[in-house]
Symmetry: C2
Subunit: 151 residues, 2 copies
DNA sequence: GTTGGTGCAAAATGTTTGCACGGGG
DNA sequence: CCCCGTGCAAACATTTTGCACCAAC
């Protein structure tokens, strides 16, 4: 898997997306490329935010297409989503495997933490309860250093 | 104390509710008693489920009253809510202080875990990031022992 | 040419709000 | 008697769905 750069441009390149789609009988469309690219560029985005970003480039893309595409990309394993606060689903590219989200209640900032931080918890839950934790969806609420320091 | 029916958790009795309300200039109403009682009895319930339970006893109670009352009770510190999957907010009585929720992706079951299980994580986040974790809202997704064993 | 994908509009959910009436204090 | 709390309906926000047309292959 040719993974290299991970900022602004296209980490999972179009070739890869095309192949992933074809393998399952789906078609490659500009909309799908744009949505994937938007998710990757945003790092964390709600469907609305993804749609907004996509529409910067292609005005006609409908929000329902974004929803359908996000669902498809998730099925393909190219994006994942978690739930941060209220009901807002947050999508992020799965180029970076699993990570835990830290969400600040006060300023709304989102940080990522390496999964290793929760290994003790995961082990304990497995041992005590036989519970297999899905680390990728774990979201921790609280207050970030900046906000905790202020008040 | 007038605890009746099958609620396992010790209810915040009506006298207490009345006092809590009065102290802030709010009034005691049957609806508020019923909503609090429903939250306690359900252990974990969405607004819909709370409303359904309330309406078993008092048919006329409107869903919007349930929303307003849940908000009020949360303000009083008598109930808390977290977000489990999608956008469904789950309310629970705060008679049991803080606890972590384990949600099974497969069967939807909800378990509670004592906060001590996450102490190492909380310490680590505080130390590494200066992040103050809100343990009460922490929700861990994964598969419970039953479901993990089956597949 | 097929068939799947998209845009559009409407429907389905879930939650909030404005308003007038009735009950709690 | 005052005015908070409620029921009701409508407004809202978000996500899903039905359908006809268009584009990918």
């Amino acid at each position: 898997m040719p993974s290299r750069h991970r900022s602004t441009a296209a980490p999972v390149d179009q070739v890869d997306l095309s192949a992933q789609l074809r393998a399952r009988g789906y078609r490659l469309t500009p909309q799908r490329q744009l949505v994937l690219e938007a998710v990757q560029a945003l790092e964390h985005g709600t469907p609305d935010e993804v749609a907004a970003r996509v529409q910067e480039r292609a005005a006609g893309v409908n929000i329902s297409t974004v929803y359908r595409t996000l669902e498809l990309l998730e099925e393909l394993g190219l994006v994942r989503h978690s739930h941060l606060g209220h009901g807002a689903p947050i999508y992020h590219a799965s180029t970076v495997p699993d990570h835990v989200h830290l969400v600040c209640r006060q300023c709304g900032s989102i940080q990522e933490v390496e999964p290793g931080a929760v290994d003790p918890l995961v082990s304990k839950l497995r041992h005590d309860r036989g519970f297999e934790t899905d680390v990728g969806h774990l979201t921790v609420f609280g207050r970030c250093a900046d906000c905790a320091g202020e008040s």
